[in-house]
Amino acid sequence: MSTQTLTNETLQAPAASRWRSLVTQESVATVVVSLIVAAAVILPLLVLIVSSFRVLDPGGFDTTWGLDNYRTLYTDRVIPKAFVNTLIVCAGSTLIATFFGVALAWVNARTNCPGRGRMEPFNLVPFFLSPFVGAIAWHNLAGGKVGLINSWGRDFLGMQGNLINVDNLYGVIWVTGLFFAPLVYLFVIGSLRRMDPSLEDSARTTGAGLVRTAMTVTLPLVAPGILSGAIIVFVTTAGEFGVPFKLSAPYGWQTLTTQIFSKAVGDDANIYLGAAMSMALGVITVLLIWIQQRYIAPRSFTTVTGKGFRPNVIDLGGWKWVAFAFNLGFILVAVVLPILCLFIVSLHPVWQSRIILHDLTLHNYVRTLFFWAPDHIAAATNGIYNSFILAFAGATIAMILSLVVSYMIHRTKGFGARLLDFLCVVPVGFPGIVIAMGVLVTYIKTPIYATLWILLLGYITRFFPYGQRNVSSVMLAISEELDQSSRMAGASWFTTLRRITIPLLKPGIFAGWVLLFIIFLRELSISIILYSSGTETLSVGVYYLTNYENDTLTAALSVTQTVMLLACVYIFRRIAGREALTV
């Protein structure tokens, strides 16, 4: 600050106000929140990088610095294969998800397929459910030996062996492909719906046919959306733990995530090697997300004009029933069959790949839900309790953080805003299991290890950008003058936030909160790294049951989780309307 002498004009301003003018509610909040976000996001990643260079000696007690962990990545007997398996699964899953996503979006947005309004919510259901539960369901449906379909094949068709078998990499590809198809769907359907039909019409008037128009006009316009969706599916699959853990790992196909898991908590635990593997996984995903954000997302053509277009759908003629059957088929294999199968399994004391009507019982639900039942399973009942606490607290804290961060990004200009914007994208580039490894190595020697707090930290770090995006999109639509006029009316920054900004942002805050609540209620790949006895979550409970108990108990808790998630989605859609819940 300058040391010029005060002129008599400025004497009215007390010297303290020089400092007070810097220490405003707004600047204090900015600094505090920036520090929190930076600490939450940067610290685990930094410690993860540093830890990956620490080499555990054979005794397992001391560490030295070196590159041995990275050397192990390609000299190890299993890890290189796990790497290749991960790439195979990602590629396959991306193909399937893109095929279903684009085809379903086109059918629903641009054709006269019957019942397309009704089917839309069901197409999105897999997005809200746990892929891990999906894998368990498909294992019971079409696993080798135990699969219901295979046993029917043997019983009714007199077949030998299996009709289909999902207990392998193809099964992983199939289940992840089905579950992540809604991601592509959501990326594509918006631009398909909002596309100005006159763009297509003008192509038709030049003499181009239906197919040619689709290939030269429609597809290029939607291509950035498709590519974005495909990359997101690839990255999400690379970080997916539950599906390969259930379907391929037990049969000899490891992936990077199952390997990281075994290094984090297994018998041959070596968190430093786990950190190096997380780095390898993280580098791939960050690179892809960077390409998507930097080069592909900005190319999404703005075809929105704000004008209501006349509904322009393509008449498929008789083919509309084929499209209808196709969409119904997707809902059947992605939603109805798995859930139905799980429910049937859950009613049996023991699953023998056959429906035995006189055995049916609800006892599995008693053991997994009722913590007062004498033979209850603590991992399951704890899991339900903990998950609700984590989902509620996590969503609330993350939304408060999102609100302040969005405010900083959009209402204050300058370096701090851009830094925060960047920090909010970083966690999206890393799979949950990588963030979780970072959190683990950072806090393993602190008191928060083995408490719910470390899970909360992991959840918020990884997922608060989702909430932030919801708030930001609403904030962008609200004129800054609404805030400014409150300041001019004499309200402080905080009062303005409380009385004007937050009430106006309610829809965005609510949508973000429910989205995070749902994500946290089904979260597995962070929880599996950070939980310990007593801090199991719902998905960890499912993991525990499938690993140490039997299929029917697993199915009961899986059905419970699925019902809870569907209830959340239903309640939310009732309150917030149809369009609100999107990524």
Partner: protein, 368 residues
């Protein structure tokens, strides 16, 4: 505030604001007397809104000082920046900024609630103000149910309800349609007169500025071009920019050949290979030998059928557009085209030969 200082209630001194490498406001200084209505007028990007936002405290400034009623609001040199909510300023925004989640009455009551006024007093004041702006029946309506003009009135009610030290208007009428805009100009001015709050108004619409202001400050490229009463600005612009921005003017480049007493003199124009001299009024700061611009408003050019005193400019009517109360003519004089407003009785039509007469009392020499 002291009584002796009443002549300068709002004092803006040496205001400078950079946006990146861009000098949005470049050393702007002006005063506003208590109770006056002053308009900052200029095209978009001239720095008028930036100046207004600086006074409001909605952004910081890089140099200069802003004082209202003797109290320093902003003085970066001394590290003083009063937050906007402490400034006691009412502001009407371009987008009206009526909060959509509140009723009209709640919107208007907000500044009073913030000031901790007891509820009965709030109610009576809100009722008074809503009556003043003509929205008494709309009190319980949600802001989103109002029309554009009604939102404008609600925004004005909210800005004046706490009887602030100063009222700021940021192009408040630019989102209204023409009819409503003309009606609201008069209405706004009436209400401002009634409450008597010192006001600074920003607009790019010169007609608006002329109708409403006690004083106009014309800005361009971050600098003040001229300030004065609407009549002064219109009748005696100081430079070519102002005379062209306010209304329409015929502008001809020339040179001052003589300056007599009383702000009169002669300007020489080189036209059609001839040197012509015109007696004219000379703007302040122009000396003999200076480059200058001859400025004549279309309504001050007389088009005659005869040459009269023989000193008229002979031209040919290129175009005559009948506008009802007058005829808008274009007259070719060599390679210059005069804009002339004539009375319909003149019955000029295309191709007519006319003689243009310039009245020395309405012929100005201004800075280029």
């Amino acid at each position: 505030m002291t009584a002796t200082n009443a002549a300068a209630y709002v004092e803006v001194q040496g205001l400078v604001k950079w946006f990146g490498a861009d000098r949005a406001v470049d050393d702007v200084s002006f005063n506003v007397s208590k109770g006056n209505f002053v308009t900052l007028l200029g095209p978009s990007g001239c720095g008028k809104t930036t100046t207004l936002m600086s006074i409001a405290g909605l952004h910081s400034i890089d140099a200069g000082q802003i004082r209202v009623g003797g109290m320093i609001y902003t003085a970066p040199k001394n590290g003083i920046f009063m937050p906007p909510e402490k400034r006691d300023i009412g502001m009407v925004f371009q987008s009206y900024a009526i909060w959509p989640h509140m009723t009209v009455a709640q919107n208007v009551a907000y500044p009073l609630e913030i000031r901790g006024m007891p509820q009965p007093e709030i109610d009576s004041r809100v009722a008074d103000v809503l009556r003043l702006v003509g929205l008494a029946e709309m009190a319980a309506k949600l802001a989103t149910q109002l029309s554009g003009g009604q939102q404008q009135r609600a925004a004005l009610a909210r800005a004046i309800v706490s009887r602030p030290r100063l009222l700021l208007f940021d192009e408040p009428l630019s989102n209204l349609d023409l009819k409503l805009r003309e009606q609201m100009r008069v209405e706004l001015k009436r209400i401002q007169n009634e409450v008597g709050i010192t006001s600074i108004y920003v607009t790019h619409d010169q007609a608006e500025a002329l109708v409403m202001s006690d004083e106009i400050i014309v800005m361009s490229k971050g600098r003040i071009q001229q300030r004065g009463t609407p009549h002064e600005i219109y009748a005696r612009p100081v430079n070519a920019y102002v005379s062209n921005f306010i209304g329409v003017a015929n502008l001809l480049k020339g040179r001052i050949v003589a300056v007599n007493g009383g702000g009169r003199g002669k300007i020489e124009i080189a036209q059609n290979g001839k040197q012509l001299q015109f007696p004219c009024l000379i703007a302040a700061g122009i000396r003999a030998g200076d480059e200058a611009v001859l400025s004549v408003r279309p309504e001050n050019v007389q088009a005659r059928r005869d040459n009269g005193d023989g000193r008229c400019l002979e031209g040919e009517v290129l175009q005559a557009i009948f506008l009802g109360n007058c005829v808008d003519c274009r007259v070719r004089w060599g390679d210059f085209e005069w804009k002339v407003l004539t009375h319909p009785r003149g019955r000029l039509s295309k191709g007519d030969k006319v003689y243009l007469h310039l009245d020395p009392e309405h012929t100005l020499a201004v800075q280029p």
